[in-house]
């Protein structure tokens, strides 16, 4: 069998290489030839093709994502920004949080269970590689219409995959989203978020400094998972059984991942790690090139030493394998024994496969022959960058003119409320979330259906006993808003996540994002993307919360039909005293119910227009970032002063849905009267920068004073108590009826 060595590549300059089959364009291939001064070997082509892929190189998005840096607000909390495995934020008292959201959309469509499971596994390893203990996960999920057949295949598989993998790791699942819209039927979105904690002086980075230091591959052995394209390479170069198509979707082993978590934490504790990188997309290719590029610049690797689950794998396949539950560490020679002993304690296989050098070259051998010899930075950091053409979609103007103003409005608002609260997007998510463990490790203060997840810090990590702090997290996105106006849609997603963090009493600090779009080669999609990034960067600047990292997922489209542009935004906040958190909804009878924020006649992209008329047109609700900031200040200050007994954010479905959900959360009713002249607008408009709170009557004046000081509109609506929601002169519904409508929808479809 011929091995395509560097020597052979020099001797056979005209051999045709299957770059196109690996998704590489002719000019990209020509650049590789120019960099190397010869044709690449099969293994080198494997590395460049995967490192220069859209997924790894961000070649279409980079020019836009730069705004997250250039427009970034000044933030003393930001310890590590974009470009590392995950951003790190100072949460006080010597502790830091690291968090990131990432997509696993395409694999989850092909094989929902494993696709979603390995999505969780991948983001958890990103967090581990920062030196942190992963402490919670969240999932932002989007599926086709609830009544569409394939949703019944995809959703249960995705939920089971997240449930099995996440529960097995012992990470509480504290929130997220489940959204249905026909635009996602061929392209479901599975965005997984993980948050971790670490001492702020013990951040780990993906670097390989120090010639002579050893490179250790540890965790699961390498198999033929997720190789997909690489089999093209093997079959084009060799004539043997490796022509067999390799599976394209990776398979996860959460038990190995759990061992890897505990093993890594012990390695960090023992201080035997110089640099560390998880193996995700592009596996060994990505880990070696990135570690080497950020370190002393060189690395020698003997690929024969990579422990294999499938001994027939060729070097090209080893380089591209996406086998799960693997990490790569750089360790000084003196620490090798201690490192390997800790791995042995946790039954985690670990193998020295190479050494850091100062040659500026990444050199790999197979059977003693050199098969890779490249400057690692050219693969890791110097990939192609495209300024893709973009223009506003042809129908955009007409879409914006098609406002919901002419839609027939209901007179029986009780029926509308019951219809909306039972609708696919507003109904109870219990069928999904009851399959996730939200309690494990005993630090969950708030979890779904609360607006944000909230964890106490003190008990999570050894040495943190003295801190009273907690961290809050929320994710939000609205593809319909973003379709109508991607600039505003991204800002509204950020506004909602920011508000959801604030209603718990936590101060929003930092942002992660998962940008789900169609094909970047379609100028109309590219316009949506550019507008969303610009909107998000501008809004982050105004709200003073920097983007710390995230992920771009392109090509979410089937044929020419792209998904609605769907920026999903995660916001992390901190509460100084976690005992002062505000619980969700109406928590007792006899409390005053207060609406904060102003309501306008805004129904573009609303849940009502969607449910009642199947309508999407006009413009989304007005963005008002100053109002969001002031509302958040009211909420956090009121929480700090102990004024609030409960809270809930207003978003999809407006005040009516917020009132109903607040009643359902603890089974406490309320009697309210509406502030405005139009009950329909008051109840169902989706104006931003609003929240519902309840408080003891004696605290009402202090709250109104606080609101007056910050110029936040504040309306006393009524009082909690009773077994029903009464909107005086408008509607009345018992909690039992609301609950029946709310909870029957998903079980009705999924059993």
């Amino acid at each position: 069998m011929n091995l395509d060595t560097v020597k052979r590549a020099g001797q056979t300059p005209d051999e045709r290489m299957p770059f196109a089959e690996l998704g590489m364009k002719q000019d990209e291939y020509d650049r590789v030839v120019a960099i190397l001064g010869r044709r690449p070997t099969g293994s080198e082509l494997a590395i460049y093709s995967v490192m220069w892929s859209e997924h790894c190189s961000y070649k279409s998005s980079k020019v836009h994502l730069r705004q997250f840096g250039t427009k970034a607000p000044k933030s003393e909390a930001l310890l590590v920004g974009m470009g590392e495995n995950a951003g790190v934020v100072d949460i006080g008292d010597g502790w830091a949080a690291t968090f990131k959201i990432e997509s696993h959309n395409h694999p989850s469509y092909v094989e929902p269970h494993q696709g979603a499971a390995t999505g969780v596994g991948g983001i958890v390893r990103d967090i581990m590689s920062m030196g942190a203990r992963p402490v919670a996960v969240m999932d932002s999920l989007r599926f086709g219409g609830l009544d569409q057949g394939d949703t019944r295949r995809v959703l249960p598989g995705v939920v089971e995959g997240i449930s099995h993998y996440g529960n097995c790791l012992g990470l509480p699942n504290i929130g997220g989203e489940v959204v249905f819209d026909p635009c996602y039927i061929g392209n479901p979105l599975v965005n997984a978020l993980c948050v971790g904690l670490l001492r702020k002086d013990q951040i780990k980075l993906a670097v390989a400094p120090g010639p002579g230091n050893k490179v250790i591959l540890f965790g699961a052995r390498t198999g033929a998972d997720g190789i997909g394209g690489a089999s093209v390479l093997a079959s084009a170069t060799f004539e043997d059984e490796s022509q067999a198509k390799r599976p394209a979707v990776q398979v996860g082993d959460p038990f190995m991942e759990k061992l890897l978590i505990e093993c890594c934490l012990e390695l960090y504790q023992a201080d035997v790690v110089v640099g560390i990188q998880d193996l995700g997309a592009a596996g060994v290719s990505c880990a070696t090139t990135e570690l080497a590029a950020k370190g002393t610049g060189g690395m020698d690797v003997d690929l024969n030493l990579v422990p294999l689950r499938d001994p027939t794998l060729r070097p090209e396949e080893i380089l591209m394998s996406e086998s799960q539950e693997r990490m790569m560490a750089v360790v000084t020679p003196g620490d090798i024994d201690a490192f390997l002993a800790i791995c042995a304690k946790w039954d985690v296989p670990a193998t020295v496969i190479g050494e850091v050098t100062d040659t500026g070259r990444l050199v790999m051998t197979w059977d003693g022959e050199v098969i890779v010899d490249i400057p690692p930075g050219t693969a890791a950091d110097e990939g192609p960058i495209y300024e893709r053409p973009l223009h506003e979609p042809l129908g955009q103007h007409d879409l914006n003119l098609d406002t919901p103003d002419t839609l027939e409005r209901p007179t029986d608002l009780r029926t509308t409320l019951l219809q909306l609260i039972a609708s696919p997007n507003l109904s109870s998510r219990e069928w999904v979330t009851s399959q996730y463990d939200r309690y494990v490790r005993g630090n969950t203060v708030l979890a779904q259906p609360a607006d944000a997840g909230l964890l106490r810090v003190s008990e999570i990590m050894p040495g943190a006993e003295d801190t009273t702090r907690g961290i809050a997290l929320a994710t939000d996105g609205n593809g319909r808003y973003a379709k109508l106006d991607p600039y505003a849609g991204a800002q509204l997603a950020l506004s909602e996540a920011y508000r959801n963090v604030a209603v718990t009493g936590a101060t929003p600090l930092a942002v992660t994002n998962c940008l789900n779009f169609g094909s970047p080669e379609d100028p109309e999609v590219m316009w949506q993307f550019a507008e969303a990034v610009r909107g998000l960067a501008d809004a982050c600047k105004t709200l003073g919360v920097p983007v710390t990292g995230g992920n771009v997922s392109f090509y979410n489209q089937t044929g020419s039909a792209a998904i609605n542009p769907t920026p999903v935004i995660g916001v992390l906040g901190v509460i100084d005293d976690v005992a002062k958190r505000v619980r969700s909804g109406f928590t007792a009878a006899g409390l005053r119910v207060v609406l904060l924020g102003a309501t306008y006649d805004e129904f573009g992209g609303s849940e009502w227009a969607h449910v009642a008329h199947g309508h999407l047109g006009g413009l989304p609700p007005r963005v008002n970032l100053e109002a969001e900031r002031d509302l958040a200040t009211v909420l956090t200050e009121a929480a700090k002063s102990g004024l609030l007994e409960g809270s809930h954010d207003l978003s999809d479905g407006g005040l009516g849905i917020a009132l109903a959900e607040a009643c359902l959360s603890q089974g406490v009713g309320a009697t309210v009267s509406l502030p405005g002249g139009d009950a329909f607008v008051d109840l169902f408009a989706e104006s931003s920068a609003r929240a519902l709170v309840c408080l003891k009557p004696e605290n009402f004046e202090a709250l109104t004073d606080l609101c007056a000081r910050l110029d936040v509109p504040c309306y006393g609506l009524g009082e909690t108590g009773g077994d029903r929601l009464v909107v005086e002169g408008v509607l009345e519904a018992t909690i039992a009826e609301l609950r029946m409508s709310h909870e029957a929808t998903l079980p009705g479809v999924f059993g």
Binding site: Y436, R441, G442, E459
Partner: protein, 224 residues
């Protein structure tokens, strides 16, 4: 009072277990699956999780851990042992308790706050409850349906060895609504719900009803 908390590879609730014991005034002593050493503890808590990834069958591999070869005879000799969730499954696999836990009737993992009735308040771990008392604890499992042959069930019922029963709705299809059982001597108790998650107001699943387990064992050990 020193109470051991066992960690197998894949154990998840060991931190919660240790905390619950500490809050009740006991010293939580970490026990490692690979050690032939109970460290002289006065009682043992086998917490939940997915030991060995639940491969083969839940608890089937853990049963053979070196620590279990010490624990089984000690339990037979009267050492108080509590197993929750995966700990219960391990106790059944180790034949310290009869029967087995199989896939939930609904085929899904279920995490929810569950009403439970205390049917036996005489065991080492339930003496601070009253018989017939209803408490709320979280359940979170995929394999929690208790099954046993008719003869075993009849024996458990006649000897008052069903310690806990699901009240309201049964989350997993357990026979006779069984949530937890004890051995003949009443020193070994296994249940699917999680008392260790319900000991604090701030984070306690729905409340603090789990405290009774730990106050029970502490008062038993103090009075021993």
């Amino acid at each position: 009072m020193r109470v051991g908390v066992v960690t197998f590879p894949g154990t998840l609730d060991d931190q919660d277990a240790a905390r619950a014991l500490r809050l009740a005034g006991a010293e939580a002593v970490p026990l490692w699956h690979a050690d032939h050493d109970l460290k002289g503890v006065d009682a043992v808590f086998l917490p939940g999780g997915f030991s060995y990834g639940d491969y083969l069958r839940c608890g089937a591999i853990s049963r053979f851990a070196p620590l279990m070869t010490e624990l089984v005879p000690a339990a037979h000799a009267g050492l108080p042992v509590l197993g929750t969730c995966n700990g219960f499954q391990i106790l059944c696999e180790a034949h310290l308790l009869p029967g087995a836990l199989v896939r939930n009737a609904g085929l899904h993992y279920v995490c929810r706050d569950q009403r439970i009735r205390v049917d036996n308040a005489t065991t080492a771990w339930t003496s601070d409850f009253a018989e017939g008392q209803e408490i709320t604890l979280p359940v979170k499992h995929g394999e929690g349906r208790y099954v046993a042959d008719a003869e075993t069930l009849a024996l458990l019922e006649s000897e008052n060895r069903v310690v806990f029963r699901y009240s309201g709705s049964n989350p997993n299809g357990s026979l006779n609504d069984i949530a937890g059982i004890t051995n003949e001597a009443g020193n070994v108790v296994g249940l699917m719900p999680h008392p260790e998650h319900a000991v604090e107001e701030l984070t306690g699943a729905p409340g603090v009803d789990g405290r009774g387990f730990f106050s029970s064992i502490v008062s038993k050990l103090v009075n021993a």
